[in-house]
Symmetry: C2
Subunit: 300 residues, 2 copies
């Protein structure tokens, strides 16, 4: 069992990671920002501002983890795509990594994004083939971090997994995003205004995303890994399934919202590298959406 530090532990993905690591018997230290984390069997909860220079070092010196799962990053909906805070997260990530390695850290999992890829290509992203051509400040900072993390691993001979998450959904997802937004409308009996819904995306339940990160740790993985189900899912199918479960198909308004110009028709993960680690998703689309629906039903 390992002493693991998880940053962003109270985030959408982080909560699940912490739970799964604790269930697997690891000594889990959770680093949180503003909010704290309660009710879990954790070795330590650390409420810290990782953007404050010196704080990542102090945290690592205190915890002395042998494994690091670094999930913290700016994720404020509507803001994170273009926030200058993305650049500060590059810096904080480097500080964390440097001290982690210096104090004997053995392997780390860091979180990237499908936004690192060029989106105007064929739409199926392969880790070491698809051009890395991010269009947004968020994607540019994730990609610059990836470049530096890769170099860091090479120069220090330490395995570092770079987990490019595609589209996660499930409990604690940010309210403005697709699944919560549709459910919020339908559960209130209001019209659900959608785009045409023809986009093909790679949706994965957040528990399976978390399980992938944990598996990258358990398998001592190194290099870039797409975190996705590998199947194109039409957004219309997601929306219609949720509506059917609620007998609310009459509330759907496809085409009410325009699609952004840079919104690609197809964006999915080639997940061969992830599958090769032994990871398998627990949820299929319907059971995953059922789980999300059950969680949101009690909260909207």
């Amino acid at each position: 069992m390992a002493r693991v530090l998880v940053t962003g532990a109270n985030g959408f993905v982080g909560r699940q990671v912490v739970e799964q690591l604790a269930a697997a018997g690891h000594e889990v230290h959770a680093a949180c920002g503003r909010q704290t984390l309660e009710g879990r069997a954790l070795a330590g909860v650390h409420q810290v501002d990782l953007l404050e220079p010196g704080t990542p070092s102090a945290l690592i010196e205190t915890v002395r983890p042998t494994r690091l799962l670094h999930l913290a990053w700016c994720a404020k909906p509507g803001v994170y795509w273009t926030s200058p805070e993305n650049i500060a997260w590059v810096r904080a990530t480097l500080e964390l990594l440097e001290v982690f390695q210096r104090t004997g850290g053995e392997q780390a999992v860091l979180v990237g994004s499908c936004a690192e890829y060029e989106w105007s290509g064929e739409g199926v992203c392969r880790e070491y083939e698809t051009p890395l051509q991010p269009a947004t400040p968020y994607g540019r900072c994730k990609n610059a971090t990836r470049e530096l993390v890769e170099l860091f691993g090479q120069l220090h001979g330490i395995p570092l997994a770079w987990a490019r998450i595609f589209h996660a959904y499930g409990p604690y997802e940010a309210p403005g995003r697709l699944v919560p937004a549709v459910l919020a409308a339908l559960l209130k009996g209001e019209p659900a205004r959608c785009s045409h819904g023809e986009q093909l995306r790679d949706l994965l339940h957040v528990a399976d995303v978390a399980a992938a990160l944990v598996q990258l740790m358990h398998s001592n993985a190194d290099g870039a890994f797409n975190i996705g189900g590998g199947q194109p899912i039409r957004l219309r199918e997601v929306i219609e399934y949720l509506a059917r479960q609620l007998n609310a198909e009459h509330l759907l308004q496809f085409g009410a919202i325009p699609v952004a110009a840079n919104d690609p028709p197809l964006l999915i993960a080639d997940n061969q590298r992830l599958l090769a680690t032994g990871w398998q998703p627990r949820f299929d689309l319907h059971s995953g959406l059922d789980d999300a629906l059950a969680w949101w039903r009690g909260r909207i």
Copy 2:
């Protein structure tokens, strides 16, 4: 007149920058690493380790500069090309820049390198045309910093000049490099073992390199600028000129050292963007080499 903070102020280029800024009447604060800086009319000399998280912030908070010339980076000959310290300098640079902007900094000049460019191309490097494809950890870290600095400038609306230095020579150059190595041999009356010397390079006297950085500050420049003379100079010509001045042509041994496989035949700067700022070099090749020779003569 501006309150200017110069990092790497006791370095090869930094010394000249500090002197020129002081001569131009600016309030100059010099940040040095291990060694200090003496005998100059400076507003402050700060001996600090910028790689220590929090130190860049504390320095900026103390000095409150309106201009920043950031030259510090790892530069240890034989080590800097592959040192992991390059990654720490990315982090330190970001911390410096963030606090500089937050405390009212108006414009900064940061130092890049010709090592950011792909070296297998035509050999004449143009800032926004030649592919950025660094082959070394040093080049990769400079290029990643450039990417983040560019984004930082865009997001904050602050002009940031990125000065890609090609090949500087002159007083205080590191002993193992071409001009000092040849002079060291010849001044001692020993054989000067050289490669074939057919490489075409962009050599510029370090005082002119420094003047270019100062001009980027005075002209409030933004974006990438090649710092070079723009003329291809055959290394053989440099070596033969130095030998002629010392009547030591019989000591030259061309071909005694092999050329590295990745050593490009031609590597020079297109300096149109730099010339457009009003900068002009003070030295031509011969007067520059005369100056270097005079300086080294008293020291070898």
